[in-house]
């Protein structure tokens, strides 16, 4: 039996030792924000925060997150529904096209800004290796700068 929290909600998982966290989230817990894009830690569509660190959930297992806090895109907004600075920047810059990759990008951006509050373009490019087939990269860069500005204005 493994216990952890998902978006603040305690969960217990039994007998799914070989099943990646991505599919535990999607199939067993009904948390559909993290997406399956490759299954081999290449694309980042499945990224979630584990204790604040962005990890590909397709290559993460329940044992890796025992006792941890797992946050998915659904957990980025405040309990009252207020969007996070990253999410708001994603709307303000109209980042998503199809949107399928964006949960992973917003998770990666959230983790980056927690570590590097005002990243340069080079730091963004170096830190986030997710794939967007629709090619929203210029807007992702702009949105991260915007979110960084909003977060530092909040102090």
């Amino acid at each position: 039996m493994t216990s952890f929290t998902v978006n603040g909600r305690p969960v217990e998982i039994e007998g799914q030792d070989d099943k990646p966290l991505l599919w535990i989230l999607r199939e067993d817990l009904g948390v559909l924000g993290p997406k399956y894009g490759c299954g081999i830690a290449e694309c980042g569509a499945c990224r979630v925060l584990v204790n604040g660190v962005s990890v590909p959930s397709c290559m993460t297992f329940a044992s890796d997150v025992a006792g941890a806090s797992v946050v998915t895109v659904e957990g980025l907004e405040a309990p009252d529904g207020t969007l996070s600075a990253v999410q708001q920047a994603w709307i303000d810059e109209q980042v998503p096209q199809c949107g399928f990759c964006q949960p992973g990008f917003m998770i990666a951006a959230t983790a980056l800004l927690a570590q590097v509050p005002r990243p340069t373009d080079a730091e963004i490019d170096g830190a986030i290796s997710n794939i967007c087939r629709c090619g929203t990269y210029p807007r992702i860069r702009r949105a991260i700068h915007r979110a960084a500005g909003a977060l530092s204005a909040q102090g």
Binding site: L32, V73, E74, N130, I131, I140
Partner: protein, 772 residues
């Protein structure tokens, strides 16, 4: 739901009258005449009033816009809803929502894609009959960058018609003449008395009134929304991570299926050696052979099904293609370039003679591109239920209900089931790029659902099945020749392409008839360069049969032909030591629209300014999807040959632009798609099978190698053109031309790589003796 009124029967008395008279002798015209392609039927259902097929107004004033086109990231739901809101005279806010209608009304038909006539210009018997036949067939699809072109007029008419009915309802309620009423903010107002009524309270009364015969559209000067960027209606849900995609469909009692396709396309399942053992695994519900060609594992969890599928031991039949490999297939392309009997697509002037006598010499070059695939971020998936009563329902991230419906019938028929009805629910598409116009995965889900009646079955292809066992854009090669005249400009242009026909392949899989490969417009588009002032031109094509399944792919033939032709024009320019921009300008003297786009992009990029050693700039232009698009790429080529695309500038004349920011986004995305293809993408074949399987060996652009992109929309008086595909089209040639400018190396095959051999490999360019 109660349908209150039918205009069927007198619709044909309007603009289509000429058509009616001309085709009246054809059997079935009377029936066809009843087909409502305007979609102006109304209905009242609970608190909703449908004022026509596109506009539904709720009692509380919310407006639902039916947009019969798939949202796959291009922002079409927003753009088309803006058109309705513009004419309905309501603010573009969160009281507007968009749905993909489930009912395949004739008004939703994508007839434009077949008939190629703008609705506002449609006339004549062929168009009249075509609209109705395609409407009856439920031909509703999204593609060919056509949605705004095709619905620009009908959506505005729908909005204007609804507004006029709401005004008429208010006039009746208030007992005042229509002329004394106006609208604002979702209300009909009577200025003289200060009274106003909301659209919500008028909607049901409006729905029983006859739609106006010729609703008057707003003049351009009064537009408040068209041409002003509006936020996308689908973005908030996507930013919250809402389950909007087909992959996210969850239904009670749902089963999950993973599939295995033959490594060599065309092979059939000989036997499954361990089917019983896999079937007996915990959680597995079924192991099924689909159509003799694929094997599916059905389980309570997709991940379990996929693990079990990986353990299947499947023996496949051998095929004639078992020994095929990329080198041999490439050799067949090259051989086809000199075959005896190419299809002649175009022959103007006297190309053959001029090629023998080009005053300034003859330029010749051969180019080639490999197979590539779509790699939509959302893996292929479909969910289908076939109920005990025979009714079927499908949830699919698809480019249109016609494919879903056909796929459900096909899959059910494999199982010996004839569905009594099919309801198509089109979810958000996590990318599509032509891939989701096919019905393969839907048919698989329908087959499995027919075996598990009453339970929804969701099929998901793993990324490995998507990249290695999916659909492909054809490889292609071209031999280009030009005879240069005294000014250095071509006097004759001869283009010949060899490719596996996309039409032949798509039709072979999915249509009841096959027009065959000859004259396949999608294989030659981008080759004829009709806007360049070249007096003699010839275009020929040779279909190269092959075992690979070819699918529609973002910009189809333009994706290779524009690379061929715009690289070649550069070669011609440089052969006579002309600046590539000036050379193109010389060929476009009678084309102000093209010149404006070309000059704009050149100005953006600072064309002609000095660049550091190892850096270069390249330009390319194309007219496609009723738009004109030009790009300049800036590259850096390192000493070790590594190519970096630093910036891409793009100017586009896409006619009247509805939602400018969405157009910019489409061009940005198209450029990313094009840069990825140009530098990274190759599907290769060994022993008949695709060698790539996932993003580690079919790599994608990422942030680290995404160039900066600048897009300019050129002001235009034309009607809207397409924008989904044009952004892709000039990229490859612009980059190849830039690399030549940076290094002096002419790269003629994709993906571009600066090595010792590539670039020289297929070069047969014979530079002319320099004319004095």
């Amino acid at each position: 739901m109660a349908r209150l009124l039918s205009r069927r029967g007198f619709l044909v008395t309007g603009a289509a009258l000429g058509g009616t008279a001309l085709v009246a002798g054809i059997a079935g015209v009377g029936y066809l005449a009843t087909v409502d392609v305007d979609g102006l039927d109304t209905f009242v259902d609970g608190d909703r009033a449908g004022l026509n097929a596109f506009v539904v107004v709720h009692d509380d004033g919310r407006v639902v816009v039916n947009v019969p086109r798939a949202e796959m990231g291009q922002g079409i739901h927003t753009g088309l809803a803006m058109l309705v809101a513009e004419e309905l005279d309501i603010p573009f806010d969160d009281r507007i929502s968009v749905v993909f209608p489930t009912e395949p009304l004739p008004a939703y038909s994508t007839w434009y894609n077949v008939l190629r006539v703008r609705p506002e210009e449609a006339s004549g018997p062929v168009v009249w009959a075509g609209q109705r036949v395609l409407g009856l067939l439920g031909f509703i699809a999204t593609g060919a960058s056509s949605s705004t072109i095709a619905l620009w007029h009908p959506m505005r008419v729908a909005g204007a018609s609804a507004r006029s009915m709401l005004i008429a309802a208010a006039a009746a309620r208030l007992g005042v003449p229509v002329a004394e009423l106006d609208t604002a903010g979702g209300f009909v107002r009577h200025a003289a008395t200060g009274r106003s009524l909301s659209y919500g309270e008028l909607a049901r009364e409006a729905a029983v009134l006859p739609p106006p015969r010729d609703p008057v559209l707003k003049p351009e000067a009064e537009w408040r929304l068209i041409g002003r960027s509006q936020p996308r209606v689908d973005v908030p849900a996507k930013v919250r991570g809402a389950p909007v995609f087909g992959l996210d469909v969850v239904l009670p009692d749902m089963l999950h299926a993973a599939v295995r396709h033959a490594p060599v396309f065309g092979a059939r399942v000989l036997r499954v050696d361990n089917g019983a053992a896999v079937r007996a695994e915990a959680g597995v519900v079924d192991v099924a052979i689909i159509d003799g060609r694929q094997v599916a594992v059905v389980a309570a969890s997709w991940w379990r099904a996929e693990q079990a599928a990986a353990r299947l031991e499947i023996a496949w039949t051998s095929t004639a293609a078992d020994g095929a490999d990329s080198d041999e297939m490439s050799a067949r392309l090259q051989a086809a370039l000199v075959s005896d009997a190419p299809y002649q697509n175009l022959d103007e002037g006297d190309v053959e003679t001029l090629l023998g006598t080009g005053p300034a010499g003859v330029i010749e070059a051969t180019y080639e591109v490999p197979f590539v695939t779509h790699a939509c971020m959302e893996p292929m998936n479909a969910t289908v239920i076939v109920r005990a009563d025979g009714s079927a329902e499908a949830w699919v991230p698809s480019q249109g209900p016609i494919g879903v419906r056909t796929g459900v019938f096909r899959g059910c028929n494999w199982a010996g089931v004839e569905p009594t009805s099919v309801t198509s629910k089109i979810t958000m598409n996590g990318g599509a790029f032509g891939r989701r116009s096919d019905l393969d995965v839907t048919a698989q889900a329908a087959f499995l659902a027919s075996r598990h009646r009453g339970r929804p079955v969701k099929v998901i292809w793993s990324r490995e099945e998507d990249i290695g066992r999916g659909l492909y854009r054809s490889h292609a090669a071209a031999r280009m020749r030009a005879a240069l005249g005294p000014t250095g400009l071509p006097v004759a242009y001869d283009a010949r392409v060899a490719a596996q026909s996309v039409i032949e392949s798509v039709a072979g899989r999915n249509l009841p008839f096959n027009p065959g490969p000859d004259g396949d417009a999608l294989s030659v588009e981008g080759l004829d360069k009709p806007y360049y002032a070249i007096p003699s031109r010839r275009v020929r094509s040779q279909h190269v049969p092959g075992h690979m399944p070819i699918g529609l792919w973002r910009s189809n033939g333009f994706s290779f032909n524009t690379f061929f032709a715009e690289s070649f024009i550069d070669e011609c320019a440089l052969a006579v030591e002309k600046d590539p921009l000036a050379y193109r300008r010389g060929l476009l003297q009678d084309r102000p629209r093209h010149l404006a786009v070309l000059d704009r992009v050149a100005a953006m990029a600072g064309w002609g300014t000095e660049m550091a050693p190892g850096r270069g700039r390249g330009i390319a232009i194309e007219e496609c999807y009723l738009s004109v698009v030009a790009q300049v790429a800036e590259v850096t080529v390192a000493a070790d040959g590594e190519i970096t695309v630093d910036r891409v500038f793009c100017a586009i004349d896409a006619g009247t632009v509805v939602n400018p920011d969405a157009v910019v986004a489409q061009i940005e995305g198209g450029i990313a798609f094009g840069v990825t293809t140009t530098l990274m993408s190759a599907i290769t074949i060994a022993d008949g099978a695709v060698e790539q399987s996932n993003f580690h060996d079919f790599p994608m652009q990422r942030l680290a190698n995404a160039p900066a992109v600048e897009v300019a929309i050129v002001e235009s008086a034309f009607s809207p053109g397409g924008v989904g595909e044009p952004g892709v089209v000039p990229v490859a040639a612009a980059i190849a031309n830039a690399i030549h400018s940076a290094t002096g190396r002419r790269l003629r095959s994709l993906p571009l790589a600066v090595t010792e051999t590539i670039g020289e490999r297929r070069t047969r360019s014979v530079l002319p003796p320099r004319a004095a």
